[in-house]
Structure formats: structure tokens, C-alpha cells
């Protein structure tokens, strides 16, 4: 590899290639628990540069791992076999905004919130709203099929991707999908790329479907003394046919954590439900909010407050967005780890699942929070543990396995939002056992030399704690 650094420098320029250990070390991890050193970091600026890097890598059988902000939570951008980390953040031009076609065309290094800032004056937005939108790239969102608290109304990234330009493993550039809202024929290859975690090609450009910015928005919070009441309220709200733009659950652990870290002043109750409705007609938003309020009351929700004050809504929204990181301040010596962190379950099973999560945590000497975009059936959990103790990793491993066994038993799925990569792969492979061979066949067809983010998803190791080194300084005991 060393001797080829010169070749890579010739492609992208001297200052955009590094094999300095310090850089490799920083690029060896993302927001997950994993860590593995790449051999080199390359920062392309153009499609041609990406093509040349891929031709080189394919010819020399060198792994290539596309990377955006490195905010993936399951080891997505961690180069398990070394190789080239392709930092895509320099490809960050917004190429076209076409309000008349309700779409835009961007390079993949564009950051989600920056795109929305530019779209705002046009009266549109790119609707997937990951909490990490302030830093995550469109490429990373496509890689993981990211979504967020507004997915309940607006869907995930896949629902807003019309077309893609992708550099394949052999360096060929292909156009997938279309520029139109409907595209019925043939295999949906653009959609296949979304969520493929960098294993099938390097996405370089995306044509994205936009949504008009709603004119009105209101938000409410309801308190619940019993978690199961909150769960029932959520599934009832959805089944009445209302489509809130946000329907979030926070359990008591999550409430304590945000209050501690962010001073949000949320009430000390078993659970809160945060709901939001948006639209073009004020009365219609008000009508939906009133209905949600009634539903919460029916399920013993109390202290319900509603606001359409943008400042107050932003305060709550920002607090919610920072929930995962703030869990790291839950207790002295405990950190928040993204393990088994985004399962989706049938609506009717939300409350049961949240309760089971707490039971599993207790059994396994860890603390777990439960919160999430429950309006989409999505539950977020984080395991709070002492990451320096080896025994805690064993505890966490058991907890992860037990939680997923339960999730599958009630008809749920491994990941509703963040993707699989390494940490979730062992359980996911059990869940998806009937699809694994088909996925491997697709991977072989598009990447015969297995150079694109290898050993992730269906090819990931069976023990996530040993898939790579853990990024913490773990001691025995």
C-alpha cells in the first residue's frame, strides 16, 4: 500500500491524501463502539477522481470505505479490513434547485441542514430529519437510509431519492433511477443503493425529491405515569388516521438525562409523549393537535401543554435532537453506547417492548433508556455502561441478544433507522436468514473482488464485540 500513496496523491493531489498515523487513528472510528485503522485517507473533489481511485483499488484489491461525517452508530465507516477511507465531504456542491420540479441535485458531501438552509427561501425542504442533520452528509444518509423524528409523516431518505450517480467498484459511472416522481419499471436500483452502507458503490450525486415547507406547526407534550398508557396513546393516535409530523416517546431514564445535560425542565414522570402536527392550513393543524390531545387524555395523559411558539418548539426539538449524546451524562462513569439502538416493532407492541427493554437491562447489569420515533413504531435504546470494564461488554452483549430475541418474537425488526454495519449484524443475520444469500449474490455481482466496505451487513463477523477492537480502553474485570 505504502508505495501506492504516490499514485493516490497523483489522482487527488498531495494535500488530500494522508497515511499519517494520527489521521488514520482519527478515521479509524465513527460514532460507534468500533475501531480499525485504515491504510490511507483520500479526499476526492470530483467524480473523475472517485473513478480513478476505484479503478486503482479494484485493480489492486484494496478495500474502499466511503465516509461522510462518520456519525454512523454501528461501525458503518470503520474500515474493518483497512484500505482506503474515501472522505466525501469535499464533494459538497448543491448543483441544481428546481422548485418547478420539486427536486434538487446535490453532490453527496452536502450536509443535510446546509441543504435545508439553502432550500428555505424557495419554500421547500429535504424531509428526512435525522437528529444528526447538522453534520451528517447526504451520502451518509443515503448509505444508511437515514430518517428522523418526522419520518412518521415524511418517510425516510429512500422515499426522497429519485436518482443517483454511482461509481461502481470497477470505476464505471452509472446513472440509476430518474428525475421523475414515478419510475415504475424494472429493478429499483437507486432504491437498492439507499441503505446499502457503502457496500455496492460510491454514490457521488443525488437527485432528491423535496417537500413544501409547512406554513403552520404546533407541538404538544403529554405526561404519563404509566409507560403502557403512553404506548397505547401512541398506537391509538396513529390508528385514528391522523398523521402527526412527529410523535415521540421518552421514558424516565431519557427524561432524567436530557434534564441533567440540557436543563430542559421536563416533568419527572414514567414517560412523556411529544407530538407535533404541521400543514398549510392553521385550522387543520389545530384540529389534529386537538384530536391527539384528546387521545392522550383518554389514555390518562396529564399536564398536556401545546405551543405554536417557534422558540418553545425549537427548545423542545433541540433537546430531543440531543438526547442520545446527553445520555452520556446520565451517571458518573457510565457512557452511552449505541447498541441495539433502533429496533422497529408493531405499533401495538411499543409499550410491551419498552418494558421488556428495562427488564433485560436490569437482568444484565446495565441501564437502558427507551425513547424514539414511536409514531413510526421505532424505539431507540442506548446502553449506559462502564466501557472500561471487560465484564460490562459481556453484559451488553447478552442484553443485545436478549432484546433482539424479544423484538423478533413480537414481529419487530432489527433496525428501523440507523442501519446494521457491525454491531447489529449478528442478530440481524438471524432475522434476515432467508435474504442473506440473495444479498451476497447482489454484492458479488456488483463488487466481485469484495472491495466496497467489506465485511459489513451479511458478511460481518458473528461476534460484534470482537469484530474490531473496541474504541475504549477496556481493562479486565
Amino acid at each position: 500500500m505504502k508505495s501506492d500513496i504516490g499514485m493516490l496523491k497523483a489522482i487527488v493531489g498531495e494535500s488530500d491524501v494522508s497515511d499519517e498515523l494520527a489521521d488514520l487513528y482519527v478515521y479509524s472510528s465513527d460514532a460507534s463502539v468500533h475501531q480499525a485503522l485504515p491504510s490511507v485517507v483520500v479526499r476526492p473533489k470530483t467524480i473523475e477522481e472517485v473513478q480513478q481511485v476505484m479503478r486503482y483499488a479494484n485493480g489492486n484489491r484494496v478495500p474502499v470505505i466511503a465516509r461522510g461525517a462518520g456519525s454512523g452508530m454501528s461501525g458503518h465507516a470503520v474500515p474493518i479490513d483497512g484500505g482506503i477511507v474515501l472522505d466525501m465531504k469535499r464533494m459538497n456542491r448543491i448543483l441544481e434547485i428546481k422548485p418547478e420540479d420539486i427536486l434538487c441535485k446535490v453532490e453527496v458531501g452536502v450536509v443535510n441542514d446546509e441543504l435545508n438552509r439553502v432550500l428555505k427561501p424557495y419554500g421547500f425542504f429535504f424531509p428526512p430529519t435525522p437528529s444528526s442533520g447538522n453534520i451528517c452528509t447526504i451520502g451518509g444518509m443515503i448509505g444508511t437510509n437515514a430518517s428522523g423524528n418526522r419520518a412518521v409523516k415524511y418517510g425516510a431518505t429512500r422515499d426522497s431519492v429519485l436518482g443517483l450517480k454511482v461509481v461502481l467498484a470497477n470505476g464505471d459511472l452509472v446513472k440509476l433511477g430518474s428525475n421523475t416522481r414515478t419510475d415504475a419499471s424494472g429493478y429499483q436500483l437507486a432504491r437498492l443503493m439507499v441503505g446499502s452502507e457503502g457496500t455496492l458503490g460510491i454514490v457521488v450525486e443525488a437527485t432528491l425529491l423535496l417537500s413544501p415547507l409547512p406554513k403552520y406547526r404546533a407541538m404538544g407534550i403529554a405526561n404519563f405515569d404509566k409507560l403502557e398508557d403512553a404506548g397505547r396513546a401512541i398506537s391509538d393516535i396513529i390508528s385514528t388516521g391522523i398523521t402527526p409530523s412527529m410523535l415521540e416517546l421518552m421514558d424516565s431514564v431519557a427524561i432524567t438525562a436530557v434534564n441533567r445535560a440540557l436543563n430542559l425542565g421536563l416533568p419527572d414522570v414514567a414517560a412523556i409523549v411529544i407530538f407535533e402536527c404541521d400543514g398549510m392550513v392553521k385550522e387543520s393543524v389545530g384540529h389534529d393537535i386537538a384530536n391527539i390531545r384528546k387521545t392522550c387524555e383518554r389514555h390518562n395523559g396529564s399536564g398536556i401543554t401545546v405551543s405554536d411558539d417557534p422558540k418553545e418548539m425549537a427548545r423542545i426539538y433541540e433537546g430531543r435532537k440531543k438526547l442520545f449524546p446527553s445520555l452520556s451524562r446520565y451517571g458518573e462513569g457510565l457512557v452511552s453506547t449505541p447498541l441495539a439502538d433502533d429496533m422497529a416493532v408493531p405499533m401495538s407492541k411499543i409499550a410491551d417492548c419498552v418494558q421488556e427493554i428495562h427488564k433485560v437491562a436490569k437482568r444484565n447489569n446495565v441501564i437502558m433508556s427507551a425513547y424514539g420515533h414511536c409514531g413510526s413504531g421505532l424505539i431507540h435504546t442506548k446502553i449506559m455502561m462502564d466501557p472500561t470494564k471487560e465484564s460490562q461488554w459481556e453484559d451488553a452483549k447478552r442484553a443485545v441478544t436478549e432484546i433482539y430475541e424479544y423484538v423478533y418474537k413480537i414481529g419487530g425488526t432489527t433496525s428501523g433507522e440507523h442501519g446494521i454495519a457491525l454491531s447489529k449484524a449478528p442478530s440481524w443475520k438471524v432475522e434476515k436468514k432467508d435474504s442473506l444469500e440473495m444479498m451476497r449474490a447482489i454484492k458479488r455481482a456488483l463488487d466481485p473482488h469484495n472491495i466496497l466496505n467489506p465485511h459489513k451487513l451479511m458478511d460481518a463477523p458473528d461476534d460484534w464485540t470482537k469484530a474490531t477492537a473496541l474504541r475504549y480502553n477496556v481493562r479486565r474485570g
Partner: protein
């Protein structure tokens, strides 16, 4: 391995969930673009130094010293990670391993020899009897006209400051990683400045008198804002919040109140108040990487020009210095001009 300054911060570094939220407005990351240049990168590099996975080296030191200590990352971090504590401790370990920059070493030597960062024994305080201890700090010591102006303003407002011979607060030693030198300087400082409280002229000194010495320090603008009379200056300006002001001391309203009372209209920049974009002058990069400092300062000047105001006001002498240079450079290369002035000039216009 260094001198173990990072050891106590292992838990703090584990608390960092590596979310990258601190990328968003890190001025160094925005200019250089490598993950290793941002706040998260610095936390990871520090972790590597702590665990021994990284050895101290010039390359690591260059990365670690490219930080303006603007506190933007701390403000944004949802896990409340004290990135600057981590960075300054990593710097201390690197310095202990022999990776101090020559310009930084010189500053520390200067403080040791002469009591000020310039190494100039001629730089002395304008001694003055009074009631309230006033701490000037090196930047104001070396700008006697500005200092006199502030003293005159205070006198006009009925506050009688006392100025004694002083030595540097020692912040440069602490932030540049010379922790041992700072520990011995601390005693010297306390001999020269034995007070429990003070008014200070420089935002950075004010923060450090509070955080480093536990003094009840107030910035001069906090005092002035309570007594400022009305005037009708009729100016239209944009105001640059120095990092140590809006994020360090959380002083956001006071300078605005002063300007408003003096009849000055403020047009806010895109990034202002607690989200103020850095001027590029802090953290030692002005000495170790002036070209990076210049680029960051020019970005800020461009934001100021976008407001349409013809003057940028700031309240920190370092910001003033780097932004003035950047304004001249941007004026020359891009043909767009803006004047840069310190707030004491405007206050003086209003009260004299």
C-alpha cells in the same frame, strides 16, 4: 507518553460519543476539512495519546495546536465535553515530550522574564490610585492609549479604578500547555494582584481570573453597561462577539445595551451572540499558524460585510487586531471594505 496531564480526563473522553456535532462551526475544521482538525478529532487524538496508541509527535502537536480555543465545540456538545480542557492537557503532554512550538516557548519565556507576553520590560502599568482594582492584562498594557481611554470612561461614570504594577495572568502558559510554568507563575501573580475581585479590560483575562484563580472578576463592559448615559451617535454597525465574551462569560446583552443607549444601530451577522464565529486570533494559532488565523479572520470579515454595515465593533483587543488585518486584506483582494473598531472608541465618543 507525556506527563500524564490527560490521565484525569479518560472519563471525559469516554463521555464523548463521537457524534461530530462539534464539526458544525469549528473554524479550524471548516478551513482545513480533515476530521483530525475538528474538535472531535482533537478528542480522539488526545485519547490516542492517553492510551499510547499514538506517540507524541510534531504532526500530532501541529494538529493539537491548531485550535483557537473559541469554545464553539463546548457550546454545541450535547454531552457537555470540555474539549478545551482536553486540548490544553494534550498540549501539556506534548510540550512535556518536547513538542512545544518555538513561538510559544518564546512567549512563556517572555512572561517568566518580564511578566508580560512581549518580553518587553518597558511595558509598564500606568499606576493610579483608586477604589476598585483594575486588571489591564498584557494586551492593554501594550496599548496605553486604549487603556487610558477605558480609565477615563470609568472615571466619567463615577468609578475610580486603581492600577498597580501587574504581571500576566498566565493564561498563555496554561493554554499553550506549559502547566508547570503556570503553577509557579500563579504564586507570582497572586503576589502582584492580591485582590479577591477586580474589573478587567480583556475578555480572556476576565475569564481566566474567574476560572484560573476563582476571583470575582467582572469585565469592564459589565460595569459600564449599568451606568452608560444616552447619546445619539447615529451609527450603524455590526458587532462581533469575542468567544471569551459570549461563550466564556455569557456576556451578550451588555455590549448591545451600551451601543443601543449610545444611539448605535446593530445589524447582526449570520453567526452572532452565543454562536459567534471565531476571529481566528485565539489559542496560540496567531503565533504558530498565522496563515490559518488569517483565513478564519477573513471568513468573519466576509460575514460582517454581508450585513451591509460599514463598521465592525468588537470588545476584545485580539479580535480587533486580527480582524483589522483581515479587513485590509479582504478590502484589497475582494474590493469590499469594512472598518474595524474597538467598542471603547465608540463609548468614548458617547461619554466624553
Amino acid at each position: 507518553m507525556g506527563a500524564g496531564h490527560l490521565t484525569r480526563l479518560e472519563g471525559e473522553m469516554n463521555t464523548c460519543i463521537r457524534c461530530a456535532y462539534c464539526f458544525e462551526k469549528c473554524p479550524v475544521f471548516n478551513e482545513r476539512g480533515w476530521d483530525s482538525d475538528g474538535a472531535r478529532g482533537k478528542v480522539i487524538l488526545s485519547y490516542g495519546l492517553l492510551t499510547g496508541q499514538l506517540k507524541p509527535s510534531k504532526y500530532v502537536a501541529d494538529k493539537m495546536f491548531r485550535c483557537t480555543c473559541c469554545r464553539d465545540c463546548i457550546e454545541r456538545c450535547p454531552s457537555n465535553v470540555n474539549v478545551i480542557d482536553i486540548v490544553s492537557s494534550a498540549r501539556a503532554d506534548l510540550v512535556a515530550s518536547g513538542f512545544a512550538g518555538e513561538t510559544h516557548k518564546q512567549v512563556v519565556e517572555n512572561i517568566k522574564k518580564t511578566g508580560n507576553i512581549y518580553g518587553d520590560a518597558e511595558v509598564v502599568s500606568p499606576l493610579k490610585e483608586g477604589e476598585t482594582p483594575l486588571f489591564l492584562g498584557c494586551q492593554y498594557l501594550s496599548r496605553p492609549n486604549k487603556t487610558k481611554k477605558y480609565i477615563a470612561i470609568l472615571e466619567k461614570l463615577g468609578i475610580h479604578p486603581e492600577v498597580q504594577k501587574e504581571v500576566c495572568c498566565g493564561f498563555p502558559m496554561e493554554i499553550l500547555g506549559f502547566k508547570a510554568e503556570f503553577e509557579s507563575h500563579k504564586e507570582k501573580f497572586s503576589q502582584f494582584f492580591p485582590h479577591k475581585g477586580a474589573i478587567a479590560l480583556c475578555p480572556t483575562c476576565t475569564v481566566f481570573l474567574k476560572e484560573g484563580y476563582g476571583l470575582d472578576a467582572k469585565h469592564v463592559l459589565q460595569v459600564i453597561s449599568e451606568k452608560i448615559p444616552e447619546a445619539k451617535l447615529g451609527l450603524k454597525v455590526t458587532y462581533h462577539d469575542p468567544c471569551d465574551f459570549s461563550r466564556g462569560l455569557k456576556i451578550i446583552d451588555e455590549p448591545r445595551k451600551i451601543l443601543k443607549k449610545l444611539g448605535v444601530e446593530i445589524v447582526e451577522m449570520k453567526d452572532s451572540k452565543v454562536q459567534s464565529a471565531c476571529c481566528g486570533g485565539g489559542g496560540g494559532i496567531l503565533m504558530s499558524d498565522p496563515s490559518l488565523s488569517d483565513r478564519i479572520a477573513k471568513n468573519r470579515i466576509r460575514q460582517a460585510i454581508e450585513t451591509g454595515a460599514d463598521t465592525l465593533i468588537t470588545s476584545c483587543p485580539t479580535c480587533e487586531q486580527v480582524l483589522k488585518k483581515a479587513a485590509t486584506d479582504v478590502g484589497g483582494s475582494e474590493g469590499k471594505n469594512i472598518a474595524v473598531r474597538n467598542i471603547e472608541d465608540i463609548i468614548w465618543m458617547g461619554v466624553k
